[in-house]
């Protein structure tokens, strides 16, 4: 077949690489370290948490070449067709002098044991490219996905603030090479489906969304991999066989986000990073929430569609989207169906997705101007932590009374779940402390949370109730702080 290619093509630093022998579960880090002897990127955790393996991936998105930090340990090679991979080895200049980020890290004593350092350098490089004079908040957000056990981060943040005094972004090699790289990537992009291997070695990169539908119709049990922030761990941690694998992360047709008639439609392939500013603009409470999902690398890879499709009870986007009344479009072949998001989650690990079907888009109604909406995530550690409890609240008050209410929680049940008894206890009543206190016992009807390493059942229930109290305080306009904050919100 002429429209099928049998190799993955990518640009690795300065080299064009064609790989005909990629295994479906081969990680980028293994490619770098084992096959290419590029051992500057380190494995610290193999689960996308520590950032020691951070590399940049450049890709053309809506005509623009963008570079983002990713975790090479859980990124599959099959997902990199037509991308530019930039590793720590690419930073030093040909004359041996250091890159501005590297020199700043040296001068400000930003490394001690040095093992995490290449990852930090890459994350700071990505930050510098998008924000040459970063605020402290930007620095901290950019470093959420990088763990350092030695320095306490102070020296690293000092270096981060100083990078631009060492060089200008416009003079950086990746900036100067931009047109050249775009041309080389464009030349690789032949709009063909990529297929490699058979059976447990089989991977497919569809050429388009329609092609994806066709591939899945033929391979209904294939593992769909978008950002691989979850599936990556199935491989690195559980050594599960995931083939055949269909990689959807590169499909531009799934990466559209837009608004029509008061509803935002998010393609299933839109990453958290790509969605963040748009969502924060239209639904401000979602901005700070997205900023606390994973680290920068995970947000660059992970997709809202994937967060929904994998059905985790502690996924961070389903509760707020359910509270907002979102709907989901699933597609099989040419058939589409749309259902309320909350109905997609049937039970633990069980979703309403048929073989061959895939999540195509989620549709999110924008709350009315006078509606109250909030989403509160509680974790042991503020950033880059998996949720213990997440409460999302969407409420209208008319003439002092609750005229409509949708509340959904994560971490409180086997699925993301609406608090219907609590909603019933609030509906039609005055929006005040008395009503809230009277509604609290209804939580025990809605939820029977479990105890695990993230939180006890007792804490989960208490905190869940208190989040409703917090929501009341936040919406009642007392002006008093309703929670602790790392940053003053804009």
């Amino acid at each position: 077949m002429t429209n099928i290619r049998r190799e993955i093509r990518l640009l690795l630093n300065g080299d064009e690489v064609a790989l005909a022998d990629v295994r479906p579960d081969e990680t980028l880090l293994d490619l770098l370290r084992l096959r290419r002897s590029l051992r500057g990127s380190k494995e610290g955790c193999a689960e996308g948490d520590c950032g020691a393996c951070t590399v940049l991936v450049g890709r053309v998105s809506n005509g623009e070449l963008i570079y983002e930090g990713v975790n090479a340990c859980i990124r599959f090679v099959g997902s990199l067709d037509g991308c530019h991979v930039v590793t720590i080895e690419h930073l030093k200049r040909p004359d041996g002098s250091l890159h501005p980020v590297q020199q700043a890290m040296v001068d400000f004593h930003g490394s001690q044991c040095g093992f995490c350092t290449p990852g930090f350098v890459m994350s700071l490089y990505a930050l510098w490219m998008r924000s040459p004079e970063p605020s402290d908040r930007e620095i901290e957000t950019a470093l959420q996905g990088n763990l350092c056990r030695c320095t306490g981060y102070e020296a690293i943040t000092r270096a981060a603030r100083a990078v631009s005094s060492y060089g200008r972004v416009t003079e950086d090699a990746l900036a100067r090479e931009r047109d050249n790289i775009r041309a080389r990537l464009a030349a690789m992009h032949d709009r063909k489906r990529v297929e490699i291997g058979e059976g447990e070695d089989r991977l497919v990169v569809p050429a388009s969304v329609d092609d994806l539908a066709e591939v899945l119709a033929a391979e209904p049990t294939a593992t769909i991999v978008a950002g691989s922030t979850d599936v990556g761990l199935w491989v690195t941690k559980f050594m599960r066989d995931i083939a055949p694998v269909v990689f959807t992360g590169g499909l531009e047709g799934l990466q559209q986000i837009g608004e029509m008639n008061g509803t935002i439609t998010i393609g299933a392939g839109v990453s958290y990073t790509a969605a963040r500013d748009f969502l924060a603009w239209r639904i401000p409470a979602l901005g700070p929430l997205i900023d606390r999902i994973g680290g920068d690398q995970v947000r660059n890879m992970g997709t809202i569609g994937g967060n929904i499709a994998n059905g985790s009870p502690i996924g961070d986007t389903p509760p707020p989207l359910i509270a907002l009344g979102a709907t989901l479009t699933l597609r099989r072949g040419a058939e589409r169906r749309t259902l309320p998001l909350e109905d997609f989650f049937i039970d633990y690990g069980k979703q309403d997705r048929q073989p061959g079907e895939f999540v195509e888009a989620v549709h999110v109604p924008i709350p009315a101007p006078k509606a109250h909406f909030a989403a509160y995530k509680i974790t042991k550690r503020r950033d880059e932590d998996i949720t213990a409890v997440l409460g999302a609240f969407h409420l209208h008050v008319t003439d002092g009374k609750v005229s409509s209410v949708r509340i959904a929680y994560g971490g409180m049940a086997a699925t993301p779940k609406r608090a219907r008894a609590v909603e019933a206890a609030l509906l039609g009543r005055p929006w005040n402390a008395e009503t809230v206190e009277a509604a609290l016992p209804a939580f025990d009807e809605d939820f029977q949370p479990i105890s695990d390493m993230r939180a006890s059942a007792t804490y989960r229930m208490l905190a869940a109730k208190n989040l409703l109290r917090r929501f009341l305080v936040e919406t009642s306009g007392t002006g008093k702080p309703f929670t602790v904050k790392r940053y003053e919100e804009a």
Partner: protein
Amino acid sequence: MNRHALPDLTAKAISGGVATDRRHDSAHKHVTGEAVYIDDMPEPAGTLHGCLGLSTVAHGAIVAMDLAAVRAAPGVVDVLTAGDIPGVNDISPSGRHDEPVLAEGKVQFLGQPVFAVIAETREQARRACKLAKIDYDELPAVLDVEGLDPLSDRLVAPGLTLKRGNAAEAISKAPRSISGKMRVGGQDHFYLEGHIALAVPGEDRDVTVHSSTQHPSEVQHMVAHALGVPSHAVTVEVRRMGGGFGGKETQSNQFAAIAAVAAKKLVRAVKIRPDRDDDMTATGKRHDFLIDYEVGFDDEGNILGVDYVYAARCGFSSDLSGPVTDRALFHCDNAYFYPAVKAVSAPLYTNTVSNTAFRGFGGPQGMVGAERVIDEVAFALGKDPLEIRKRNFYGVSERNVTPYHQTVEDNVVQRIVEELETACDYAGRRREIAAFNANSGIVKRGIALTPVKFGISFTATHFNQAGALVHVYTDGSVHLNHGGTEMGQGLYVKVAQVVAETFQIDIEQVKITATTTGKVPNTSATAASSGSDLNGMAAQNAAQQIKDRLVAFAAEKYEVPVEQVVFLPNRVRVGNQEIPFGDLVKQAYMARVQLSAAGFYKTPKIHWDREKGEGHPFYYFAYGAACSEVSVDTLTGEYVVERTDILHETGRSLNRAIDLGQVEGAFIQGMGWLTTEELVWDEKGRLRTHAPSTYKIPLASDRPKIFNVALADWSENAEPTIHKSKAVGEPPFMLGMSVLHALSDAVASVAGHRVCPRLDAPATPERVLMAVERLRAAAGT
């Protein structure tokens, strides 16, 4: 970079001498990814890869082991079990023979290595491991120290008792007394580079092991025992570790021993690098403690007597638990004088991973107990805890004897605390916080200023020795080797600064070389903050020997008195002429002067009688203090560290930039231990927090929003240490206590500071919220 430049013969000062802010010697290599860690080394042809098979029950007899499927798996070359250990199947560093390399007959914790798969690739070894079928006859497992009797239940090593005066009598006669209990959690090291060993077989019985270890000599000895060969057959080398923090003091032994046994058996190089989850499950951590305390005090807040029992969860073997729990007792006073004291340690046996060294080595747990007692006294009297702290500080010339009968001779805690208290405006901010809290509903603020006094020296006196090897080549360049290991703390550069200073040559002339048992033998672990103190002195001693020979040679050759041979930067003035260092060295060589020396150092003054609980175990003390302010959400227990101010002393620092990094990093690590780093085992004894997704060390966004760190510029060591500097690795770790106490202070505000919050550690948001609830209930608010 590092291009070999000719030394400047007119320089007024050398580059990289002592007391300069020299950057880490590997900084360039760190930021370029060129620093080589063991997994980055080119592998010898035919290198095999190992994976350890871990037990799946906490305590049980091994009834049957079916490894046929493992052996048959793709790529598997061999599967090792206890019977394959040719020498002694033991790696217990305490000599108690209680820690097998591979489990034999029984397993004593969930995660204990039972077998090792050796395969062509790491992936194949990992996959094969999962195919094992082992039947256990499960036995009752002791998972926690709660409910154990410290006096009668099984210990892994003898406990210690420290006693001065009659504590029971002092408490019973005191106007007031309080007793209580505190839980302090453990901590995973979370070095970014996990354990790894690469064993390369040599001829005869030889083997070379590249090990990520803080203690190459012990790895050498353990590998030799496991192989049943003399120590001379084993060479252990370590250029650098990607972090250690105590986690690689003894825990590297197992991986090295198994890799070496496999390498010798199969006559191929073998590398073992456990996955992060296996690393965290199978290797020891900081001990968690249950501390029982009773304190007698007067109405002013003077402590009159204290009684402590420190019960530690040690795990299934002794490892370093004896000395760790000893050090907890050595720090049950922190910076406070106890007129009468009794403190007892109980290193308890449990069916959990064997806990081990971790920065502070039990000292932090001891001090957390002391600070809880301060809180109890303060809340009982309705006073600011800082007032109680200051009231009970050691005196300078009186009230200065520790529970172990050592007199504190170098006390500067008052000065440190006073300077910090003023600099951070403790009093003003305490008033502001009170005003804020009075007017705030959900968010409450808290502040605390806590001191640190930490004893420096290995309490096992014989470890306080070090060796170094210095060669001067005929071009004037210097090869430096010593027994200390580099784990990021900057030891290598500090010792190189000492050598450069001694010879008065630029540090670029000094080559820092990998630590290896073949060059400097019988070394101590790089631990107990002792690295620079010991190895700096040993290297100085070696350099000085060569320097003395050069002086004698020059005086003789140029016929001048030895006083007229003076080492200037990169040159030597001999009489009226200046000779480049390299030229003088060449001349000395031609005259057959030995240009190599082995240096040695042993710490003076220290002695310790453990039976009596008396002696002078510490050469000196290091001091510091921190003040932290937090905001707490009393609906969820979430919190933010608003500000931390630190004043810490490092003597006449060899390198203030390095020391500052140690203080900042240690504080954050200490804060992590007491806040978000929570180890959770389930009822089966399985560690549920075994990777960064579940075990939460601090991030950049957990730093105090305002973070002011100062090193006391007036500080110098009262003892003649290397250039009068002080150790810095561990002491600032305990500065993190200020965050725990600030959280406690914020919690206390919900009950009007009338009830001691008794906030246990780690103070996760959950624990903070539960403390808030408890206090509200107690205060009826």
